[in-house]
Amino acid sequence: MEQKRKAAIVTGAGQGLGAAIAARLAGEGFQVVIAEYNEALAAQVVERIKAVGGDAVACKTDVSDEASVRDLVEFTLRTCGPVDALVNNAGIYPKSPVLNMSKQEWDRVLAVNLKGAFLCCKYVLPGMIGRKSGRIVNIASGHAVRGGAQFSHYSASKAGIVALTKSLALEVVSLGILVNTVAPGISDTGMPRIHDSEEQVRIKTARMPMGRLVKPEEIADAVAYLLSERNTVITGQLLGVNSGQVLFGG
């Protein structure tokens, strides 16, 4: 009898790092739910995964909306079975100085980047707690500890992610659930290009310790390890995957 695939939810998996993580987990044998607001992008990711023999399905999700997250988890249970792994990757990255930032922008960033992770954890946890098994990875950023100028909301949201990971990890460690944060360095995706020109990206690339940007696949590798059964004791940690760009840990 074929062993049932484990189910993983990856939020914000329509492009960039999220898509790379989804592809990697599918390659590891997970049935992956692409939780993504942009249906067209989500469909493309599903196609690419299936084209190489993987198993994926899309679910339109707004992680900042509680009802949408509840629906996501219920959809996953119906379609794939119990949720074994969750990757909170969805995030937005606008830029404004504190003294000139609208509350609307501030609230939106906190809602998507931080509350979204809280809601997804909240709704997958009961199943994981019931089965005394589960793995969660939350995606942060070097900004979480550096606090970038004009990114106070983004930085605050990522710092919140790191702290949420620590507190949650303590709560569920005795229940066989491991929770960690991965902080990517500047990766070769659309993200660095949101605010920087190609010339600025080239300059930042040259300054990276290895003289190159991090590949999304390299970050996906770290995430996959932390979600795997090979990870038996690592929990509550912040792992930088960044070629030394930011050195965490005091």
């Binding site: 003294l99 509350k103 509350k115 009961p126 702290a163 620590k166």
Partner: protein, 235 residues
């Protein structure tokens, strides 16, 4: 003799607000306290103007800051110490409780800085002290909403530090361990043994540290997080 320095404290009416007010008045400052509405107004034993308002409402906060500016003409110190902590496992935390924690512990501080710091920038000088909690760094059972918001506050402060460094404004964080009634409310007797000084901190002790950090001689100190926790957490 120079004019008294002016301090604005934005809080939730707890022990720290009162202690900081007293400490700043003791140093000769003219102090006002904005207290988040709906809470019991604190009994402040020193001359401090109190304003009750919803500090999470940008319109109301901006209006209160405007009125404060008209009364005082300047602001030398802004102390942000709103605090809301509930004791609930993450899976049982409601979305409303999450929102309340972020709104009071983090967003209110963003709003206060957004509306008060421009006056400091105009003056070319100012001290901002934001009060966080060591729970942000250590994590704590049943405190994910609090830990996340307080951690966000620390890093928000770093971003703000960078944005206002050129204008003579210094931003620092005081991160507190178990204070006042925390052990009774959120911890246990076992927690006391983990603290080298074997007790919770007193609000007056934290207030003294906050006051120290506002000192104009500490011009080179910005973007820092200073901890006070009886040795419980040593970063």
């Amino acid at each position: 003799m120079g004019a008294a320095k002016v301090a604005l404290i934005v809080g939730t009416g707890g022990g720290l607000d009162v202690a900081v007010a007293a400490a700043l008045v003791e140093k000769g400052m003219s102090v006002e306290l904005f207290v988040h509405g709906g809470r019991k107004m604190p009994d402040v034993p020193v001359p401090v103007q109190l304003t009750a308002l919803d500090i999470t409402d940008e319109g109301k906060l901006a209006a209160a800051v405007q009125a404060f500016t008209e009364r005082k003409g300047r602001v030398d110190c802004l102390i942000n110490c709103p605090d809301l902590r509930i004791n609930r496992p993450l899976a049982e935390t409601t979305a409303q409780e999450w929102d309340d924690s972020v709104a009071l512990n983090l967003t209110a501080v963003f709003l206060a800085c957004k509306h008060v710091v421009p006056l400091m920038v105009k003056q070319g000088a100012g001290r901002v002290v934001n009060v966080s909690s060591d729970v942000a760094r250590m994590g704590a059972l049943n405190s994910a909403a609090y830990a996340a918001a307080k951690a966000g506050l620390i890093t928000f402060s770093k971003s703000l530090t960078r944005e206002v460094a050129d204008f003579g404004v210094r931003v620092n964080v005081v991160s507190l361990g178990m204070m006042g009634e925390d052990i009774a409310t959120f911890g246990s007797e076992a927690d006391i043994s983990a603290i080298p000084l074997k007790r919770a901190g007193k609000w007056e002790e934290a207030a003294y540290l906050v006051r120290c950090i506002t000192d104009e001689k500490l011009e080179y100190m910005t973007g820092q997080t200073v901890h006070m926790n009886g040795g419980l957490y040593m970063p």
